[in-house]
Amino acid sequence: MTEYLHEKLVDTLRAHGVNPALSEDEIDRYPYVTFELPVEYRYTKDGPYKIVGNLTIRSVSDDIDEAEDLRAGIMAAIAGGFGDPSEAEDPAEEVEVVEQEATEEEIVHDYDEFVFSARITDVRKDCMDGVWVIELDYILNQYE
């Protein structure tokens, strides 16, 4: 089973107007979003049946409102792209979701044959030297 959690996550966020970068990328302009997504395979005797990703994604800005808007956008995007939107802790109704282009519906991704789910496990907010960092922890699943 090929791992598509990274591709699915990035596509989902971008569809909601959030452009993430990997944590090791050097970003010098606020606000921005970075993430880490280590994955592990789960097996039965017949082979891998699930891939689990431990996602840590953070919105960073020198403006608390900007950081909160990004945080809300991330949560709305993952709730919509990885599972039942009603399961989101914060549906972020005030966030404007970027409308997808009509042609985007026709795009077929390699990961469309898999089932994805997401569960939020922690939210942390911190401010250091005037820079706000809001970290979200998720468990992402990719099933056959």
Binding site: R42, Y43, T44, K45, D46, G47, Y49, R119, I139
Partner: protein
């Protein structure tokens, strides 16, 4: 040469004629052969207890994910149905084999079935079997 765990399969015979099937979502099979012993100490043994093997208790434990659908393997609903059988219907034939190696076969009954489900992980199923009668161990491998 070591043997990868996924090459070991515990199968139950279902239907008529019997078709041997594994369990859907299986993650682990445990085989236990425990000797039944009897101790004897006579004066002629000069204080050294004698131990005789009078038989074996053979048990299996099959653990796996709760799988509700499968076209080739035994599903969770079927297993629960098996566990609720009584009398002669509760006796199943089994095969315990590795690819290209000898196979243990015989009859068994389900002595315990437990399902575990929490809020975050995959639901799992554990089934315990006890072999009844004398199992055979030969190279009639069909796996």
């Amino acid at each position: 040469m070591a043997l990868e765990g996924y090459n070991i399969a515990f199968r139950i015979g279902v239907g008529s004629p019997k078709v041997y099937k594994t369990f859907a979502g299986r993650t682990q099979d445990d085989l236990t052969i425990a000797a039944r012993t009897r101790e004897r100490l006579t004066k002629d043994d000069a204080g050294a207890t004698q131990v005789a093997v009078i038989g074996q208790d053979v048990t299996f434990r099959a653990t796996g994910l709760v799988e509700l659908t499968s076209s080739t393997a035994i599903t969770r609903d079927q297993l629960i149905g098996f566990a609720l059988q009584a009398g002669a219907n509760a006796v199943f034939v089994f095969q315990y084999a590795t690819n290209g190696n000898d196979m243990l076969s015989g009859s068994c009954v389900i002595t315990n079935l437990s399902e575990s489900s929490n809020a975050s992980d995959d639901a799992t199923l554990t089934v315990d079997f006890r072999v009844v009668g004398a199992p055979t161990f030969d190279d009639d491998t069909t796996s």
